[in-house]
């Protein structure tokens, strides 16, 4: 087998050195009755060429050749080949968690840079080394707020990503945490009076996403004010992190839970992505996940180490702030390289193109009779529209034009049947947008 660096002779030499006659002897501590007598029933072995052929064949059964208008938490953006070249350096790809700091300074400094970039982007004081994704970052932010306030009720905007809410409910179920939802108004943004009515001194956190699941940008200041007046913390989730290239950072938030997939990570059918939690310095000891800190070595040289580990499971066990161990380090590195490439100017230009293309798409769509915008609040690269027909039916028609249509909002929001969530990024060309609009128009005009 090509991955195994031993000849039969070497195996025999090693067995002899150990003093056993056969490899079977080394497994003697497994009761005989439980040792497999036959080889496992697995496909393979495949040569490298066959492995590639297998996955190419699977890839061909997917959506190659289609233009997609899906976002809803996963976004297509340009990624420089430089990012991947760095990521595939074995020194990053095949290294372990940097517990041995002297021979992991590359990873540690890169994490320190990641933490800095995340702080700059979110306007927060500290950011951790990564969480699994936006959904678990949001959930862990709520658990952090629960620890900080000692309260067990959480108010969650209904316009928070439906799957983020589902994950929160899964985690909350057994911890005594009570999750309640706050609705939205015709603007597409949070129902502030509903929030105020629900806020009492037993609420640990208010959770709101911006831009929210409908693409609508939330006014955070009044939400923060209401939350803080009740002694609750404000958790702001960001599912489309690129929006922060053009939007004011959520400085009103006490905790920011972000999905960083837009920064150099492929959609990859849902993962791996990179979550991040950013917060205020005074809350750092209740933060989950790894943190890298700057320090000096014996000779006074600057260096970096994993720090404040007394929060973590390998030290604190059942008293840890979270059970997270393995995180998404390589994805955080991708985000770091990607954002370094974009830089101060690039992230702005990319964000501006998203905004311009989404605005253009909406203005073209609004020319279609019977189609109207669902909400009035400003948006970034995603917006909701109401169709005169079922979105599913329209989407089925779009497939004929090799278009993957917008997200069907009715799936998660029964009150929004006939509403579609359209996403347009810098990767979508004007020609593709025009074809999409024409195809939607045709689908709506076709006889039922």
């Amino acid at each position: 087998m090509r991955y195994l660096p031993k000849s039969t002779t070497e195996r025999e030499q090693m067995l002899a050195a150990i003093g056993v006659k056969s490899i079977e002897e080394l497994f003697s501590s497994i009761p005989e009755a439980y040792r497999l007598k036959n080889p496992l029933n697995l496909p393979g072995p495949l040569s490298e060429a066959e492995v590639i052929q297998y996955f190419q064949a699977r890839g061909a059964e997917n959506s190659t050749g289609y233009t997609s208008f899906l976002g809803a938490g996963v976004y297509s953006h340009f990624r420089s080949v430089v990012t991947d070249a760095i990521l595939q350096r074995g020194e990053f790809l095949t290294s372990y968690t940097p517990y041995q700091a002297e021979i992991a300074q590359g990873t540690l400094q890169a994490i320190f840079e990641f933490q800095t970039l995340m702080c700059e982007l979110t306007g927060q004081e500290v950011a951790n080394a990564s969480m699994y994704d936006g959904s678990t970052a949001t959930t862990e932010s709520v658990l952090m707020a629960e620890r900080l306030t000692g309260r067990q009720r959480v108010l969650v905007a209904r316009s928070l990503h439906p799957e983020y809410r589902e994950v929160l409910r899964t985690y909350a179920k057994n911890s005594g945490l009570k999750v309640e939802e706050i609705g939205f108004r015709s603007t597409g943004t949070l129902d502030l009076s509903g929030l105020k009515a629900a806020l009492r001194d037993d609420v640990c956190a208010v959770v709101i996403q911006s831009p929210n699941f409908f693409g609508a940008i939330e006014s955070l200041a009044p939400v923060a004010e209401a939350a803080h007046a009740a002694g609750a913390l404000l958790v702001v989730a960001v599912a489309e992190a690129l929006s922060l290239g053009l939007l004011k950072p959520p400085t009103e938030a006490d905790i920011v839970a972000m999905e960083g997939q837009s920064f150099g990570l492929a959609p990859s059918y849902g993962g791996p992505f990179v979550g991040v939690i950013a917060s205020r310095e005074k809350f750092v000891r209740q933060m989950p996940g790894r943190l890298t800190g700057q320090t000096i070595d014996q000779n006074g040289h600057r260096g970096f180490v994993l720090t404040l580990a007394t929060r973590e499971q390998h030290i604190r066990r059942e008293k840890a702030t979270s059970n997270i161990c393995t995180n998404q380090a390589l994805c955080a590195l991708a985000a770091t390289v990607h954002l370094t490439l974009l830089g101060k100017v690039g992230i702005r230009e990319m964000a501006e193109q998203n905004l311009a293309k989404a605005q253009f798409t909406l203005s073209e769509l609004e020319k279609i009779p019977g189609l109207k915008r669902s909400f009035t609040a400003p948006f970034f690269n995603e917006f909701a529209v109401e169709l005169p027909r079922s979105v599913k039916m329209v989407n089925t028609e779009l497939l004929r034009s090799k278009i993957v249509g917008p997200y069907v909002l009715g799936a998660a929001y029964p009150e929004l049947s006939k509403h579609a969530l359209v996403c347009v990024t810098e990767t979508t060309s004007r020609a593709q947008i025009e074809k999409f609009v024409a195809s939607v128009k045709a689908a709506l005009e076709s006889p039922l």
Binding site: V51, G73, C119, K357
Partner: protein
């Protein structure tokens, strides 16, 4: 000072490199977009009060070559499997096949959106389906979810399944039993699942104390979380009896599959009485650690827990068409948005396909390497538990302690010989542990280098302890002030002018 013949490494020039922020200069750029092909708009008008006037303060402005050099220089400061042996016990740092990276990036694989229609996702679903079948065959279990993002999340998923099962029978129960040798994630996870942790003691052989266990398994016990082989690298021989004791009281057996590299193709947890387990695809199934992740932690169960699996569940329809089933009334819900770390799952399947049934040879070689190292280092280092080793061996620093040298010192000195350290000070039941897991990826030659290096360090510990205690000597930085880092945390870079504020 050091025997150059056995030293795998030599010094080489290592470039200095500051933080990327310190290289920034306004006007430089490393990225250009195609021209905008729709009318430009005034963002400040469109966004009003939400508009970020200043741009993202602190973001660097550098050129492409500077980005390449910056990260390439940083990379040279890392140790990596691609450079040499990484004997971290319990971490299974094996070779990460390059073809796995290639296939995970293919068009049609990396490009797919989780919400695209299922009829346009049959390729992705077939990958998931085949991986499920392979993992079920390897574990001997009945049902599986690929959703958990890492081992710890797999543990949580497993415990939530157990909880749902007990709940269905009227009582979620109160406690989870965890051996004192367990990974820290086990107790941390039990708490999140709403359980109290009760530690169970190992006996003198490093096995679960069966008589003690009998007393601890009451109607209050939801489950026992058992790592097998244990973190001592010893196979838990009484596992069928343990399962019986638990089942007699209605409790379930959870197996932490972190050490599955010792068992794959040789025995199956499902046959041993295990009810639910997680796998670490970034350990046993070779997906790269990437400096700390991403991983994937699939959870395999027996039939009784299947109704509770996270949604969606992959199902096969007529004609072989695959679909995702979201309508599962008894499901524990989601543990993560979307289907899981798909790109990691792709790599794991590529690994399994490359081996096929021959994956047993990898297990055999891993166990062979661990025992070869044990044989050669026994006597030089204290072996507190003498039962047969599986894929890893745990020594203690008892002999070197006499000279004031501890496991961390030995580990740091190993760096000077060109090796990554083994796992230090874990498991907790072995004071001063040296936990060594070579994996199957090491040749006899590399194992011999390692043995020689370890013996040489032991000799140094005796003759020149200071040399060992002040190691490493060859790295570009020396031991770091961790206490200072924690006392006054500096967790981000700030521009020079702002440093004063940071100190507040």
């Amino acid at each position: 000072m050091m025997n150059e013949k056995i030293k795998k490494a030599s010094r080489h020039t290592n470039q200095n490199e500051g933080l990327i922020f310190e290289k920034s200069s306004p006007g430089k750029r490393a990225f250009e977009l195609p021209p905008l092909d729709v009318p430009a708009i005034d963002a400040s008008k469109a966004l009003g009060g939400f508009y970020r006037k200043e741009g993202v303060e602190g973001f660097p402005e550098v050129s492409e070559i500077e980005v390449i050099r910056h990260f390439t220089r940083l990379s040279t400061w890392n140790y990596a499997i691609d450079l040499g042996m990484y004997p971290l016990g319990s971490c299974t740092m094996k070779y990460n096949p390059r073809v796995n990276e290639y296939v995970a990036r293919l068009a049609g694989i990396a490009t797919e959106h989780p919400y695209q229609p299922q009829e346009l996702s049959q390729g992705c679903l077939r990958i998931l389906s085949l991986l499920e079948k392979c993992l079920l065959e390897i574990t001997g279990m009945d049902a599986i979810t690929l959703q958990p993002a890492a081992g710890a999340q797999g543990e949580l998923t497993g415990l939530l399944l157990i909880r749902a099962h007990h709940q269905k029978h009227g009582n979620p129960r109160k406690k989870v039993l965890i051996p004192d040798s367990a990974h820290g994630t086990n107790p941390a996870t039990a708490v999140i699942a709403g359980y109290e942790v009760e530690n169970i003691k190992s006996n003198a052989d490093g096995q679960v104390d069966i008589e003690h266990l009998r007393h601890q398994v009451t109607e209050d016990a939801a489950a026992l979380m058992l790592t097998n082989p244990s973190t001592l690298g010893i196979f838990e021989q009484q596992i069928p009896q343990i399962a019986e004791i638990l089942h007699a009281k209605g409790a379930l057996l959870y197996m932490d599959g972190a050490n599955m590299n010792a068992l794959t193709g040789v025995t199956r947890p499902g046959d041993l009485g295990v009810d639910v387990m997680h796998l670490n695809l970034h350990k046993t199934f070779s997906t790269p650690h990437g400096g700390g992740g991403p991983g994937a932690g699939p959870v395999a169960t027996k039939k009784i827990l299947e109704p509770f699996l996270p949604i969606p569940v992959l199902v096969e329809k007529e004609g072989g068409r695959l679909a995702l089933d979201f309508q599962r009334k008894e499901s524990i819900g989601r543990v993560r948005a979307f289907g899981g770390n798909f790109g990691v799952l792709v790599r794991a399947l590529a690994y399994i396909l490359a081996y096929g049934p021959g994956v047993r040879q990898a297990t055999e070689d891993a166990v062979l390497n661990a025992n070869y190292i044990r044989k050669h280092l026994e006597g030089t280092f204290d072996l507190p538990y003498t039962r047969p080793s599986m894929h890893e061996v745990v020594f203690s620093d008892a002999i070197q302690k006499k000279h004031g040298v501890n496991t961390m010192d030995i580990a740091k000195r190993l760096i000077d010989y060109g090796f990554h350290p083994y796992t230090t000070a874990f498991p907790l039941i072995v004071p001063g542990a040296l936990m060594i897991e070579p994996t199957e990826s090491e040749s006899k030659e590399e194992c011999d280098y390692f043995i020689d290096a370890m013996k040489s360090v032991a000799e140094e510990a005796e003759k020149n302890p200071e040399l060992v205690k002040s190691a490493p000597h060859t790295t570009r930085i020396r031991r770091l002030d961790e206490v200072g880092a924690a006392r006054k945390p500096i967790l981000r870079w700030r521009p020079a002018a702002k440093r004063g504020e940071a100190a507040d």
